[in-house]
């Protein structure tokens, strides 16, 4: 924190970017916003560093000033006091329309222009920047591919698209001029939960490829935990309660407010931060197709199960039950049945928990579908494995 004497306050015009770390893309410096007629500030003396290439989520209840904070970054709202530094530049020194064209902006309900075809919606900023027709066409094609949009949709009007497709077009439009910074204001609040989950997964995959600096506003703490590298929890009046990586917040909430906002199920929520591929798995009962019935029974007895996985050189064929093992020469003679409770390396432990507790055998089988020639067997996940994921 800087200290301000009255003398400093007078000389405050001289821009002094309080020695931002080199990897800081956006620095909010004592940012304050008081709306005319508002008794209390909407945002109060907010300091926040947003590292380059990270997704930072601003979360908090209604009236916490998270959207106001976001809009001060592209000057849709002018701060009453304080400074926004973008790559070390005071944004007030930049022409406002240039600033905005250099920042991607995604809003709730997509905000697409209903009177323009999808293609022209995506091309909005390039058109404002007077790119050539051929360059725009090429960029639109690339973005459609990047966001998995059917090229046939490009010549439709937004009203012909589903909510999820509209939101994807909104993201494509924000990325069109390849801005280093993306602002997203409750981007998924208007779509149904199934579509929302898919769009969130897509954003994670997209961010892995494009590595933008993203500021995301949401009231949904689960969305923040799922998407963000860093979460800033704001209290009413835009007071910063805590900022940090999701697992840090869930492990050690700094205040009662933060703890309350994160919820009573913080342990369970931490499960959503660990993926099956990173968890410790049990070996589980496994036999090769060449195993005899007696060998299979021995494995089951050792593992305490009444079924056994059949794997051939790491490839999972399925499972056979104890009651099927009637004197067959080898397990290969039996028809291995497919597992119902299957998780992949990218499945979160939270999702895996659901699979485990709803499966008859109380275990989930972890397989990697990437490989050719059938799913590769990784192991099994038990309730004990999941408990370890919470506590470690």
């Amino acid at each position: 924190m800087r200290t301000t004497t009255p003398a400093d306050a007078v000389a405050d015009d001289a821009p002094a970017p309080a020695a931002a770390p080199a990897d800081t893309a956006i620095r909010l410096d004592a940012l304050t916003k008081t709306y005319p007629g508002g008794a209390t500030p909407a945002v109060t003396d907010l300091d926040l560093d947003i590292p380059r290439g990270e997704l930072v989520a601003l979360v908090g209840p209604s009236g916490c000033g998270k959207t106001t904070t976001l809009k001060m970054i592209n000057r849709l709202v002018e701060p009453s006091d304080g400074t926004v530094w973008l790559e070390g530049t005071d944004i007030r020194t930049l022409p406002v329309h240039e600033l905005r064209r250099g920042i991607g902006y995604v809003i709730q309900q997509s905000g697409l222009f209903p009177h323009r075809k999808v293609r022209d919606n995506i091309a909005t900023v390039p058109q404002l920047q007077r790119w050539s027709r051929s360059r725009i066409d090429e960029r639109v094609r690339d973005l459609a591919e990047l966001l998995d949009l059917d090229p046939a949709l490009l010549d439709r009007y937004p009203s012909a698209l589903s909510g999820g497709q509209q939101q994807r077009v909104g993201v494509a439009r924000a990325l069109a001029a390849d801005p280093p910074v993306l602002l997203m204001d409750e981007p998924y609040s208007a779509v149904d939960p199934i579509v929302r989950a898919r769009l969130q997964d897509e954003l994670i995959a997209l961010q892995r490829r494009v590595q933008k600096t993203i500021v995301l506003v949401t009231h949904d703490i689960d969305e923040a935990i799922k998407l963000a590298d860093r979460i800033a929890i704001l209290n009413v009046g835009g007071v910063l309660e805590q900022v940090g990586p999701p697992e840090e917040l869930l492990r050690a909430p700094a205040s009662d407010f933060a703890a309350g906002f994160l919820g009573d199920d913080r342990g369970i929520k931490r499960l959503s931060l660990v993926r099956v591929g990173d968890a410790s798995l049990s070996r589980g009962p496994v036999v090769p197709p060449s195993a005899t019935a007696d060998e299979a029974r021995a494995v089951m007895a050792a593992e305490g199960t009444d079924w056994v996985s059949v794997c051939d050189g790491g490839r999972l064929h399925g499972w056979v039950g104890a009651d099927e093992l009637d004197g067959s020469a080898t397990v290969a003679n039996l028809r291995a049945r497919p597992f119902a409770a299957v998780v992949g390396p990218d499945t979160t432990l939270k999702a895996a928990l659901d699979v485990v507790v709803t499966s008859r055998t109380r275990v989930a089988v972890a397989v990697d579908d990437e490989a050719d020639g059938g799913p590769r067997y990784l192991g099994i996940l038990t309730v004990d494995d999941l408990a370890e994921g919470i506590t470690r």
């Binding site: 849709l76 209903p114 009177h115 900023v125 404002l128 439709r156 009007y157 602002l183």
Partner: protein
């Protein structure tokens, strides 16, 4: 008991119509010209007023109030005021000034309603992506307000076609001149011809605007991508229903 003189005449004397086709055609052009000039000038003025009202919100009520007063002035009284002024006099300028003043309220209200109806999300997105204010109004707000604006133009046009018949009193009346002629001579044929053609012109212009709106707003009926005839017909029915809805929503009763 004497029968009314009008009743003695047949309703339409076709030989009169045949002998006066040149005259009727000339009146059609005059009627059309006055209507186009009045609606065109009214539209230009209303657009400026509407943009000012949207920019400076406090100006809207006074502007709308002023237009309401113009709308409420009886046309005869307005002629009485304008004709003695040498710039206006007995003729085209007086007729045009009166007709324009009657379009302003309808057009101003509809343009402002259309601009107010632009989805807030589209406007915010445009601002956030770096549109200058004037460019946003031109490229986003006005195109999205087009249905309401065209609805206003339709009402203004139909109203003006009707009012042109009254401006015959200052010597510029299109079909109104025929009606005047018939009334002064107790001769029903020109009255009937003038009335029927005036109504027909109003309907024809109204239909023309429906076509124009459909051309200007392909996006408004893009919800169902349709190729077959029935679907296209459905879209037309829906567009008409929407237009009818706007009509009743946007026009108050005439004073």
């Amino acid at each position: 008991m004497t029968a009314p003189v009008l009743a003695a005449e047949p309703l339409v004397r076709w030989d009169w119509v045949r002998d006066h086709t040149d005259d009727i055609t000339a009146q059609l052009w005059e009627h059309l010209g006055l209507t186009a000039a009045a609606v065109g000038m009214g539209f230009a003025i209303s657009m400026v007023l509407a943009l000012a009202a949207v920019r400076w919100r406090w100006a809207y009520e006074p502007l709308a109030g002023f237009c309401s007063v113009l709308y409420a002035i009886p046309s005869l009284a307005l002629f009485g005021v304008l004709v003695p002024i040498s710039f206006f006099g007995l003729g085209f300028r007086t007729a045009l000034a009166a007709l324009v003043s009657y379009t302003l309220l309808i057009l101003l209200r509809n343009i402002v309603a259309g601009l107010d109806g632009v989805p807030a999300a589209a406007r915010e997105a445009a601002d956030g992506m770096g549109y200058e204010r004037w460019r946003r109004i031109l490229r986003v707000d006005l195109p999205l307000a087009t249905p309401a604006i065209v609805a206003g133009l339709r009402i203004a046009t139909v109203t003006t076609v009707g009012l042109v018949t009254v401006t015959a009193l200052v010597g510029e009346g299109g079909f109104g001149s025929l009606i005047n002629d018939g009334l002064s001579r107790n001769f029903p044929t020109p009255i009937g011809v003038g009335t029927v053609l005036s109504v027909a012109l109003a309907i024809a212009l109204d239909v023309r605007f429906v076509v124009i709106e459909r051309l200007l707003t392909p996006w408004a009926r893009a919800r169902v991508p349709s190729t077959s005839g029935t679907q296209a017909d459905d879209a037309l029915v829906r567009a008409r229903a929407r237009a009818a809805g706007r009509w009743s929503a946007l026009v108050g009763g005439r004073p």
